[in-house]
Amino acid sequence: MRTDGPVIRDRLLGFADTLEQSAEADVSALGPELHLLTFQLEREEYGLPITRVREVIRVTDITRVPQAPPHVRGVTNLRGRILAVVEIRSRLGLEPAVVTPASRIVVVEAHGRVLGLLVDRVSRVTKVPGESVAPVPDDVRSTDADYLTGVARWDSRLIILLDLDRVLLLNR
């Protein structure tokens, strides 16, 4: 599964590019299916290509790092390695997360580094047909549309597709 990762990512990024050029992009170019890990932030469901996700871990202690940027919640111990945990909610314009037993850290790879995203709840892995993906409609634009690649309407769900590379460009 890992080997087809870059292909899907490239297509997603390519798709994002075509969105910028024309709103009537041919979404069927995405191919037959997307495998998404979906998670919840507030009321909305977000999705990441499963190929970008290394694992999902429970939230143990997150240590605050003095003077760290506001979007970094802190660091945690991932089997002896230090993992920086990103407050993805505040990145998307939401209030910082309150950690509950349902909270999880989604460990992803971006910009050559391994980072954790603190999310409210992880739903499941979902397969979504490529043609169900559409440009970001105005009603989801409450969050920063810059960080989204599109939305998938499938099975009476609305899954917002995150642009991982952009949302994790933390020095912006």
């Binding site: 790092v65 003095p66 003077q67």
Partner: protein, 554 residues
């Protein structure tokens, strides 16, 4: 065995212990050199770096009366010297000669206590002599050299076949990986200790608990031994960095119209490669500064009654667990008046009357006293950057100077970066590690003992007044003043001291330093992270920068 032989046996053992690693490094270096030459590179730095070690081996062998090793090291020295001057002779044959000779040197030193037949050394010295003679001739008549070269390669001696017997070349990243594993082991050990304590509290003393205690202590000892051995394999002599300086100094001095002699001691002092790698640049900066700004023009020196030739001293030594490197010149010294004027112009309100404090101002950004921007130094990168780099290594830098006599920079560095014995403290329920090298004392804070002067806490400590800062304020824990903090830690770096108020002292622990992820930005009050026994992550305080004022704006 008679009594009188014993001291010699011990000496011989010392000789082997000291010289064998050197010889092995020489052999290693020549192998690297061979590779460089094959790739068409000059390898000047490598050639220069090996001289110090050869010299040491030669000297030690002479002291022990081991003439064959002495002659062999001498012959290799000569070969290096010749090859530095004759780039055209750096061929396969020359490389084989060096590698073979170093291999023989390793064998002879390793077996110094048992082997009596050392005639191979004599034969090898002969071979070097022939090579030197022909190389010198060859340089004059380049056309002839090929035929000569071929004939002699046939007789490639069997010494070189023995070379790699005990020297294994390992990618340094593997040593890093090993260290990582050791670090995990240390963390797991601390969690065992934690578990043991909780168990003891629950079930109370019994035989099994006693045995568990013993097992945990034994495990710690084993891990310590593993750590010591691993650290040793990561060590490289300082000469790998400073060995190239004499040549560089020569070139810089020449460009400046000066002559400068470099004197070095302690080149064999060993440091973790991770430290050494980050030490080269700051050291080179100090050396360049000394030659360009410190040492005067020959006429000026003569007028001042000094020798026309300047002297730059590089001394390295291991002092109570730390490495001290001194860069000293016999130049004009720091210009006290100029520093004072600059400091005033910059509005540095320092009441620094005495010399030491005044001189330490040269590490402050924007305070370079060099009048003109010279070709090689003072290009905007100043001593503040040097000091920053040294602090980043957990080291300190101090300067002493006397006008007309010279300037000396003293660097004190940790031998290794990776594992640091630390005091674990708690501030507003957050835990932090304070490297013990920076902890002078921990003191129970009596509320009446700390007074406020100019909105800063001050207390009497060992007869002096020192500032005491609140840990929560420095670290931005965000909690407003709750219960008064119960302890303060007296932190030191160089001559600076300051107390840090904390809530609890958790204890001492060997921590494995882990870096800060780039996404954490560049905090200046913490220098890294570590994992504690309970699996939680703690930040490591950057004491040097806190003492420099970091975090006080929080």
């Amino acid at each position: 065995m008679s009594k009188s032989e014993n001291p010699f046996g011990e000496l011989l053992q010392d000789y082997i212990v000291e010289c064998l690693p050197l010889a092995e490094q020489i052999a290693d270096t020549f192998v690297a050199l061979e590779r460089q030459w094959r790739a068409g590179e000059a390898g000047d730095e490598i050639l220069a770096s090996v001289k110090g070690r050869l010299h040491t081996v030669k000297g030690n062998s002479a002291m022990m009366g081991l003439t064959p090793m002495q002659d062999l090291a001498h012959a290799l020295e000569d070969a290096c010297a010749l090859l530095s001057g004759l780039p055209a002779s750096r061929d396969k044959e020359a490389a084989e000669l060096l590698v073979g000779g170093a291999g023989l040197l390793v064998d002879l030193i390793r077996d110094a206590a048992t082997r009596t037949d050392r005639s191979a050394a004599g034969r090898f010295v002969e071979r070097v002599r022939r090579f030197l003679a022909s190389a010198a001739g060859r340089e004059a008549k380049p056309a002839e050299d090929r035929r000569h070269g071929e004939r002699r390669t046939v007789g490639r001696s069997r010494e070189s076949a023995d070379t790699a017997s005990s020297v294994v070349r390992v990618d340094f990243r593997r040593l890093d990986a090993l260290l990582e594993v050791l670090g995990e082991g240390l963390i797991q050990h601390s969690s065992l200790v934690d578990l043991y304590r909780r168990l003891l509290r629950r079930v109370g003393p019994c035989t099994e608990i006693g045995e568990l205690d013993l097992a945990v202590v034994t495990l710690e000892k084993t891990l310590k031994r593993l750590e010591a051995t691993l650290m040793e394999t990561r060590l490289l002599p300082v000469s790998t960095v400073i060995g190239r300086f004499p040549r560089m100094v020569r070139d810089i001095a020449q460009a400046e119209g000066k002559t400068v002699r470099v004197e070095m001691t302690g080149g064999e002092t060993a440091l973790d490669k991770a430290v050494l790698d980050r030490l080269g640049e700051p050291l080179l900066h100090l050396v360049t500064n000394a030659v360009v700004h410190g040492i005067e023009q020959p006429e000026e020196r003569k007028a001042a009654g000094k020798s026309a030739e300047g002297v730059l001293r590089l001394d390295a030594a291991s002092v109570s667990g730390r490495i001290v490197i001194r860069v000293a010149d016999d130049g004009r010294g720091l210009n006290e008046a100029a520093i004072r004027a600059k400091a005033e112009a910059l509005g540095l309100e320092e009441k620094a009357i005495d010399g030491a404090q005044l001189y330490s101002l040269i590490f402050v950004s924007g305070l370079s006293t060099a009048e003109g921007v010279s070709k090689l130094a003072g290009r905007g990168v100043g001593l503040d950057v040097v000091a920053g780099a040294i602090h980043g290594l957990g080291g300190t830098i101090d300067v002493t100077s006397q006008e007309g006599v010279g300037t000396a920079f003293t660097l004190s560095l940790p031998v290794t970066l990776a594992i640091v014995r630390s005091l674990i403290v708690e501030v507003d329920r957050e835990r932090y590690a304070v490297p013990l090298t920076h902890v002078a004392e921990t003191v129970r804070a009596e509320p009446e003992a700390i007074r406020e002067i100019n909105h800063r806490g001050v207390t009497q400590w060992r007869g002096d007044l020192i500032h005491v800062a609140d840990g929560g304020a420095i670290l931005g824990t965000g909690s407003s003043a709750g219960a008064p903090r119960r302890f303060y830690v007296v932190m030191t770096a160089g001559a600076k001291r300051r107390g840090l108020m904390v809530d609890r002292l958790i204890g001492h622990q060997d921590i494995v330093v882990k870096g800060l992820d780039p996404s954490l930005g560049r905090p200046d009050v913490v220098s890294g992270t570590t994992i504690l026994g309970d699996g939680r992550v703690a930040c490591i305080l950057d004491v040097v920068r806190i003492l420099d004022g970091a975090g006080h704006a929080n």
